[in-house]
Symmetry: C2
Subunit: 654 residues, 2 copies
C-alpha cells in the first residue's frame, strides 16, 4: 500500500475526506462506545437489523475479561470496529492526528487482549458459544470478521508501523490456517460471507508469507465444490438456535457456493458477497498468475456490467437477500443497490486493472464512485443510505411494504453500521484507486487534482494534476521531473470529443485498451492537457431492460442526473422528454454545493377533472392536455438532500 | 336464499358449474380425507403455507373423540370443510345428487359430535389449546371458522332442510353471543379476520332471530374502537407460541381495526378481510336501515373502484399482507389480486345492489367475475390460482424473489385450500347474483341464459333469457306469464351502442341508475331484445396509475384481453400499439374453448446485434428497427392454459 505518494488536492474529494476525518470517524467512535446521542432507526431495514446501541467496544472488553456481561448486537458486530480502524489508518495517512492515533492504538491493545491464546478472535463466539466455533459457517461471519480485521491490520500497519496489530493479524491468520485447508482433519469449508480471501491476499502482499496466499487459494477453490456444505455443517451444529434469525432459507446461490467458482457463469446471490469474492479472485489471478481464475473474473465482470448493473453503477436488483436476480432485471423502485455492493465493485475493478489495464474497468469504477457510492452519503456527511434507489415516490415507500426498504431521505445511522464505515475506508484511501502503475507506465484511472511522487525504475517522478473534473473536462498534468516513462490517460467511455496537447501543441497519442499512451522522455515543466468536452447526453438502456424501455436518462461526464419533485412538482412519471431538445447547463451554488445543473424543455401531462373518480376509460373519451415545463435536473448523488420528495432518473421519452 | 327459481342454461356457465360438481367437489372431498393423489406445491405461497396433507376431516374426528391424535394443518383448517359443505349445498340446489348429499349429511353428523357442550366448535383449540379459547383473536380465526360454518349451515339447510346443521349453527351462534358483546363480563372484541359478521346476518335472514343481527352489529361497531385491542389481548395470552408463525408484525390496518369502521376513508390491509367486512357492513346497513353504515359502505366502495382496483377487478396491490397499499398504486407484476378477494368484491357488490340498485355495483360484479374470478381456475377445472397477475415473465417469477408468489401456471392444489372452494361456492350459487328483485322490479345484473320463475306480488312470473353473452351482446327475454312488473336491464358501463326492441319494435326505455326500466303489463310471449353492439376497445388508465401510463389494455364486452408469448413471442414489452388501428375479431375453437379472439396490427422492436453486450448507450448511437406483427389477443381468463409463457394485459402505445 501507499507505494506512491499521492496527495489529493481536489476540493470535490477533499470535502469528503475532511468530512470523514472530522465528522464521521469521531462520531462513529462514539457510536462504537455507546456514547453517541443519536436516534437509531427503529424500522427493520432488510437484514441490517437496527439495534438500540452498538456495544461493539464493550463486546471486546468482555471477551478480553476486562468487563463482565453478555455479547450484544449482530454476530458480525466486531467488523464495525475493524472497518472503523481501517478507515482511521487511511485518514492518518491523509492527515496525521496524534489524538486519533492514540485512540486507535488503544483499540489495538484491547484487541490483543481479546484474542484467544490459539489466535482465535471473535467476541460473539468467545463470549456466547465457544462450543460452536466454526460450526455454523453459513451465518457465523467468523472468517468475514477475521478478514476485516486483517484488512484493518494491513492498513494500520502500513501507515503507522504498529507491529502489535500485524502480530495479531498473523497469529489470527496462522490459526485459521491450522483449522481450514484440504488436509485431513482440517475443515474443508469456507465462510458464508466472502472477505477472508481478499484479506489474506492483502496480508500476503504485505508479509510475502506464501501460507496466506495458499490459504486464500484454498478458500476460493473449495467454494461450491460441495453445494450442500452449509446444510451438512448445520446438521452437526451443537446449537439449534440460528445465529441470525429469519435468514435460514437461502439457497446456495445466496452464498455463491452453488457451483465451483470457475464454473459460475452469472453473478448470483448477495451482491456484496459476490463483489468480495470477485475481488479475491482477481487478486489471486494476479498473484498466482492463475489464467483460469482470470477468465472466471472476466466472465462474472462481463455478466454484471452488460446485464445486471444499474446506470448508476448500482448492483443488486432485489431486497430479498440483497441480491442479483436475472439478466436485464433492473427495476428502478424496488432494487437494493447497496452502497457497499458498489464499493465492492470498485474493489473488484481496481484489482482487474492491476491484472489488465483496460479502461472498461476504470469506467465502471468511475461510474460507481460518482453515482451510487457518494449517493450513499448526504452532503452533510452525517446521513447515509444503504439502498440507493433510482426512483422514489414517498407515499409508496410508506404504504407499499415491498418498497419499505427504499428510504426517502438518508437516515442518521444504522444499528448495523455496515455501509458508512465502508464508505469511510474507500474515500479515505481514494488515492489507491486513482492510478495503476505497471512497468514504466503511470495509468491515470480517475481524474482528481493531485500532487504525486511515483517510483518507477528507481526514479521518483513528480506530477501535478489540475482539473475541475467532473464539472469540467480539461485535465492538466504538469511533469515536474526529468524522467523516462509513459503516461496513460483513460479516455472515458462517455467521452465523444476530446483533444490532447503537449506543451501547447495538439497531438494524437496512440490508444491502448482505452488509454491514451504518451511515451516520452519528459522534461521538467512539460505540460500535457487532456481536454474532454463534457456535455449532457441522453442515454437509453438495452431494450431488454423492461423498466427502462421507452425512457431515457441524462448523463453529463461521469455523473448521472435526476429529476426531483422539489424542482419539478410531483408525478414525475407524467413528464415526457423530447430528445431533440437541447439540454442547457449552468453552474449553480446553493445548498447542494457548487455543481452543474441541467435544464431542458419538456412536456408534462396536466391532470384535469376528466379523471376525477375515473380509474379506467375508453381511449376514445380521453383528452390529452400537456404543459411545457422547464425540467430541472441535478446530479443523482445530490438528490435526497432537500427533504422527502419524488425522484426519478429514467424519464419517459416520445 | 333461493327465493326465485333460476335455472342457468348458458353453456359458458354450465361448464363451470358441471366441472365443480363433477370434478372439484369429489376431488376436494378426497383431499379433505387425505385420499387424493396429488402433488402438493412445496413452495411457500405467502401465508397460504402448503401442507403435506389436509387432515381436515381427521381433525374433526379427533375433536369428536372418534379418533386419537393431534391437530394438523392451519389454525383455520376447519373452514376448508365448511366451504366445501357450502359449495355442496349449492351444487345440490343446481342438481340433486343423493350420493353427494349422503356424504354431506355424514359430515353434519360428525360436526355435531365435534361441537362442545357449550356450543363451541373449533378443532384446533379443542384439541390443542382449550385454555387459549378466544384469547388470541388476532390470529385464531375462531370466529372466522364459525362464520364459514354458519354460512354452510344456512346454505345447506336452505337446500336440504337438514335441521341438524341449523341447530348446530344456532347453538354455536348462541354460544358466541354468550361470550362476546358490550355487556360487562363479555369480550369487547372481534376476530382478526372478518366473516362472522356477514354469517350472523345470513343466519338472521334465515331464522329472523334478532339476537344474531345485534351480535353482528356489535362486532362491526366494536371494530377499531380500540386499535390496540389485539396487542392488549396478546399480553394476556397464556401461550407464548404464536398461532401462525412469522405473521405477528402486522399493524392494525392489516386487520381493519386502525379506526372505527365509520371513520375508515380508504380500504386498508388484507384485501379479503376488507371485502368480508364490507359485505357484512352492506348487509347490516340494509337489515338495520343504518344510513351511516350505508355511507361508510359507499365511501369504501368508491375508494376501491376509483383508486385501488385493477382493470381485471383484482384487488390487493402487494403480496406482503395480501393487502391494499396506496391510491393508484397498481403494479402489474408484483400485485396479489387474490381470487378470494375478487369473490369477496362480488359479495360486497351483490349486497350493495340489494341496498341500492345502481348499475355501478353490477358493473364491477361482472368485471370481477369474468376476469379475476374465473381466471382463478384453469379450463380443466383442476388447477387454481390464488394470485392473478396482470403481467408475467417466467424467468422473473423464478429468479426474482419479489415475484416468487406470481405463479406462471396454475398449480394443482394448495395445502391451504382457500380459493378453490370459495370459487366453487360462488360459481355454484351464481343464480343468486344474476338478479336483484325489489318491489315490483326484476333487475337483471348479469346476462346469462336462464329459465326462471320469480315471485312478485303473489304472482309467479316465468322468464326465459337467451343470449350468447359475453361473446355476443344480443340478449332476448321471453316473458311466459301474464303479469304486471318492471324489468330492469343493466346497461353495462362499457356499452357504447345498443338498442331495445319489444316484440320486434324498437323503443327507448327510461334509464334509472344505469338500468333500462321496462314498465308494462306483460302478455305471455312478449319478447324484449336488448341488443348491445359488443366491440373491442382500447382502454387507458388514470394517468396517476404509474405502471399503466403510456399503455393501453383491450376490452371486449366485459372481457379483458391479454397477449401471451405463445402467440406473440417473448418480450411482449417490445410491442407498441397504434390505437388508430382496427381490432379484428374472430370466433375460434381450440384448446381454449369456443371463444372470441382478437387480432391487431402492431409494431415490435427488433433486437439486433447493436445491443450485444451493451447495457446503456448514448441515444445518438441508437437505431430503431421494428417489424410489423399481427398481435394476437385472447381473453385474460383463458391465459396460462398453454404452458409457461409471457403474458401481458397492458401494452405500450404510441
Amino acid at each position: 500500500m501507499f507505494e506512491n505518494k499521492i496527495k489529493i488536492t481536489a476540493p470535490f474529494w477533499q470535502q469528503y475526506i475532511n468530512l470523514i476525518r472530522e465528522e464521521m470517524l469521531p462520531f462513529q467512535w462514539s457510536v462504537l462506545n455507546d456514547e453517541a446521542d443519536i436516534k437509531i432507526e427503529k424500522e427493520r431495514d432488510a437484514d441490517h437489523i437496527p439495534a438500540e446501541k452498538s456495544h461493539a467496544i464493550e463486546n471486546f472488553k468482555i471477551a478480553a475479561g476486562i468487563s463482565k456481561g453478555k455479547h450484544y448486537g449482530m454476530v458480525f458486530q466486531d467488523s464495525d470496529v475493524y472497518k472503523w480502524l481501517e478507515a482511521v489508518a487511511y485518514a492518518l495517512h491523509q492527515h496525521q492526528d496524534d489524538n486519533l492515533q492514540r485512540i486507535a492504538d488503544g483499540v489495538v491493545d484491547l484487541l490483543a487482549k481479546a484474542q484467544q491464546s490459539d489466535g482465535y478472535l471473535n467476541t460473539y463466539f468467545t463470549i456466547e458459544a465457544p462450543e460452536c466455533r466454526y460450526k455454523r459457517l453459513y451465518q457465523s461471519h467468523e472468517l468475514y470478521c477475521a478478514g476485516h480485521f486483517i484488512e484493518a491490520a494491513v492498513g494500520y500497519y502500513s501507515v503507522t508501523k504498529n507491529q502489535k496489530i500485524l502480530d495479531i493479524a498473523c497469529k489470527l491468520a496462522d490459526h485459521i490456517d491450522d483449522v481450514f485447508g484440504s488436509e485431513d482433519g482440517k475443515i474443508h469449508g469456507y465462510d458464508g460471507h466472502e472477505e477472508i480471501e481478499l484479506a489474506l491476499l492483502r496480508l500476503f502482499e504485505l508479509t510475502k508469507n506464501d501460507k496466506y496466499k495458499k490459504l486464500a487459494n484454498f478458500f476460493l477453490y473449495e467454494r461450491g465444490k460441495n453445494p450442500n456444505f452449509f446444510k451438512e455443517q448445520q446438521k452437526t451444529d451443537p446449537s439449534t438456535k440460528p445465529v441470525i434469525e429469519g435468514m435460514e432459507g437461502f439457497k446456495p446461490e445466496y452464498y455463491q457456493n452453488h457451483k465451483p467458482i470457475l464454473e459460475q457463469e452469472t453473478a448470483e446471490g448477495h451482491a456484496v458477497r459476490v463483489m468480495y469474492m470477485c475481488t479475491g479472485m482477481a487478486m489471486l489471478a494476479r498473484l498466482n498468475n492463475d489464467k483460469k481464475m482470470f477468465e472466471a473474473c472476466k466472465r462474472l465482470w462481463k455478466n454484471i456490467v452488460t446485464k445486471r448493473m444499474y446506470i448508476t453503477g448500482g448492483i443488486g436488483s432485489t431486497v430479498i437477500g440483497e441480491a442479483f436476480t436475472a439478466d436485464y432485471d433492473l427495476p428502478n423502485d424496488t432494487m437494493y443497490c447497496e452502497t457497499c455492493a458498489s464499493i465492492g465493485m470498485i474493489f473488484f475493478a481496481n484489482n482487474m486493472l492491476k491484472l489488465d489495464v483496460d479502461s472498461q474497468y476504470a469506467d465502471i469504477m468511475e461510474k460507481a464512485l460518482y453515482n451510487t457510492v457518494i449517493d450513499g452519503m448526504a452532503l452533510d456527511g452525517k446521513h447515509f443510505f444503504y439502498v440507493n434507489p433510482l426512483e422514489v415516490v414517498p407515499q409508496l415507500s410508506h404504504k407499499d411494504p415491498g418498497k419499505s426498504h427504499v428510504k426517502t431521505v438518508r437516515p442518521a445511522w444504522f444499528g448495523c453500521a455496515c455501509c458508512p464505515p465502508n464508505l469511510a475506508r474507500l474515500l479515505s484511501s481514494l488515492d489507491e484507486y486513482m492510478y495503476t502503475v505497471k512497468d514504466d507506465v503511470i495509468y491515470s484511472n480517475l481524474y482528481v487534482s493531485n500532487k504525486s511522487d511515483f517510483k518507477i525504475n528507481n526514479q521518483v517522478i513528480s506530477i501535478e494534476e489540475i482539473t475541475d473534473y467532473p464539472w469540467n473536462g480539461k485535465i492538466t498534468f504538469k511533469v515536474n521531473s526529468e524522467a523516462t516513462f509513459k503516461l496513460g490517460l483513460r479516455i472515458p467511455n462517455w467521452a465523444n470529443r476530446y483533444l490532447f496537447k503537449l506543451n501547447g501543441k495538439e497531438f494524437t497519442p496512440k490508444i491502448e485498451k482505452g488509454y491514451a499512451i504518451i511515451d516520452r522522455t519528459w522534461e521538467k515543466g512539460d505540460i500535457v492537457i487532456f481536454d474532454i468536452q463534457i456535455e449532457a447526453n441522453f442515454i437509453c438502456a438495452n431494450p431488454l431492460v423492461r423498466e427502462d424501455y421507452g425512457k431515457v436518462a441524462i448523463q453529463r461526464g461521469p455523473i448521472i442526473y435526476c429529476a426531483e419533485g422539489v424542482d419539478n412538482g410531483d408525478n414525475l412519471h407524467l413528464i415526457t422528454i423530447d430528445t431533440n431538445k437541447k439540454i442547457n447547463e449552468y453552474k449553480d451554488s446553493d445548498t447542494l454545493g457548487n455543481i452543474v445543473k441541467l435544464e431542458l424543455e419538456a412536456e408534462k401531462l396536466i391532470l384535469d377533472k376528466q379523471w376525477n373518480d375515473i380509474l379506467y376509460r375508453n381511449i376514445m373519451e380521453k383528452q390529452e392536455n400537456v404543459e411545457i415545463i422547464k425540467l430541472k435536473l441535478i446530479p443523482y448523488f445530490c438528490a435526497f438532500n432537500r427533504g422527502e420528495n419524488e425522484m426519478a432518473i429514467w424519464l419517459k421519452t416520445k
